[in-house]
Amino acid sequence: MEIISENDASSVGEVSRLTEHLFRQESAKLVAVLTRVFGIDRLHFAEDVVQDTLIKALKTWPYAGIPEKPAAWLMQTAKNRALDLVRREARFREKQEIIAATLEQWPTESTHGAPVRFETEISADRLRLMFACCHPLIPQESQSALALKTLCGFSPGEIARAFLTTEVAVNKRLTRARRSLRDGGIPFEIPAGAALEERLEAVLRTLYLLFNEGHKASGGDKLIRAELCAEAVRLTASLVEHPCGDLPDAHALMALMLLNSARLDARQDAAGRILLLQAQDRSRWDATMIARGLSHLARSASGNRLSVYHLQAGIAACHCTAPDYASTDWPRILALYDSLVTLEDSPVVALNRAVAVAQVHGPAAGIGALEAIAHINRLQAYYLFHVVRAEFEADLGNPTAAAAHLRKALPLVPLEVERSLLLERLKNLRVDCPFAFNL
């Protein structure tokens, strides 16, 4: 912690008793458990109570010291505030008794031993909130914003930074989401039976989007993006650990996130420049995370489901298990991409497939694959489309054509570091290894 100078070293002991992200994690828990108490239509009461609780900590802990059990202190304070609010607010009048009784049952600060039953209850509440946030009645953009706000404790400002948008836009999305929650009669429950699978799909989709937003290589605040990935992993983990989420698709998504997270740090050099797959130091990949990912991939292989998560996790697994770039199982990767393009109509997937084609069948075949997808509008505006083409041309010994394609890419590059990388490449167009942009 660079903010504490060495003179203050003695106080580090006290401060370091707080786990990193404790407030974020506890606030997410408290919002979930209070939402059950207040009702999903009064989500903002839960959020207000939790915010007030954290502010009380902010105002008093610096003077009085960190309480012995910080999480228990937060819970106790939230409980007291909630009771105050319920007694004061006329809106709660008819439910006041029930709510107060429920709150009174919360474990108190002096409770000894871990209240296991209560913890299980909180986890279930978080899943209930997750299903509510990802309800199909709520627009997709709003789902992501709401999930980050309520499930992960992100502020509108942080969400805006993660999604490269403005705080005003985020607040609009949140308002829309809360309105849908209130007016749509969205239940606060974990769906069961036939409804579960369908609703789970929506939840997985939102978690997948959250993760991808964080995992994108370009743009935005690097720190907040890494946290976005970590939060998506945490939420998905809590889902697959619960019986309701113990399903093939969920395990596949978990595998995909872990196998990609494992390589996140190795993706950049010390100067923050993006490192291509072939340039990455594989010893920097997180072996534990890869092992976890592979174990979820194995658990995803039951039944006859083959989702986009299965296929993408399969591709990531190929990269993760290859000892070096040269020995990557490209034929298998290509086969997985062949299936993936039939399920997901994404220009980026189509482009990735072309790279795999070139690895298996040579650069000329790669160019053929690119030409087959060149009609996709969005691809022409995507700099990597031109970069990949340039690399194929260079491999075929056509430096002039390669340079022409690189020049097309230059004005489309979103990040300065990547621009300089391209300029460098343009300068010494001799390219000795094939370009793959699987990061």
Binding site: I4, S11, V15, Q51, A57, W61, P62, G65, S155
Partner: protein, 135 residues
């Protein structure tokens, strides 16, 4: 006998009570941690004598014989005092330098630095005058 300058007391008043309203849990924890490290450090060095947070809501008493009692200050007001430190430092510059380290400045808090007058100024001046007159 050493001739080091005597320490004097300063009050740091932290104004602005609504500055933390829009902070995320992560930011709250971060500022809280910095504030705690700051205060602990000052206390351990013997600089901070005491310090306390103030609740938002209170009363304002005014008028002859205190006939007017109103709620206040408004919690949201920029002028409301959210807390204070009592410092013992060597110079006004040192007190100001410490005030500049307040972690909440970035969020709109203002810190007022006020020297505590050592004893009653008039009485002090009178005693000095009396002492010199008796020589």
């Amino acid at each position: 006998m050493s001739m080091e300058s005597p320490k004097s007391e300063y009050l740091l008043l932290f104004r602005g009570t609504g500055w933390h309203k829009n902070l995320s849990p992560e930011e709250i924890q971060e500022v809280m941690t910095r504030w705690m490290a700051w205060f602990d450090g000052l206390t351990e060095k013997g600089i901070a004598q005491t310090g306390q947070p103030l609740a938002d809501e209170g009363k304002i008493v005014s008028g002859s014989k205190g006939q007017t009692i109103v709620d206040g200050p408004f919690a949201e007001s920029k002028e409301a005092i959210g807390g204070y430190f009592l410092l013992k430092v060597d110079s006004p510059e040192e007190a100001v330098e410490i005030a500049r380290q307040c972690p909440a400045l970035d969020y709109g808090v203002t810190v007022e630095v006020r020297p505590v007058v050592e004893c009653c100024g008039a009485a002090h001046a009178a005693s000095v005058a009396a002492a010199s007159a008796s020589v």
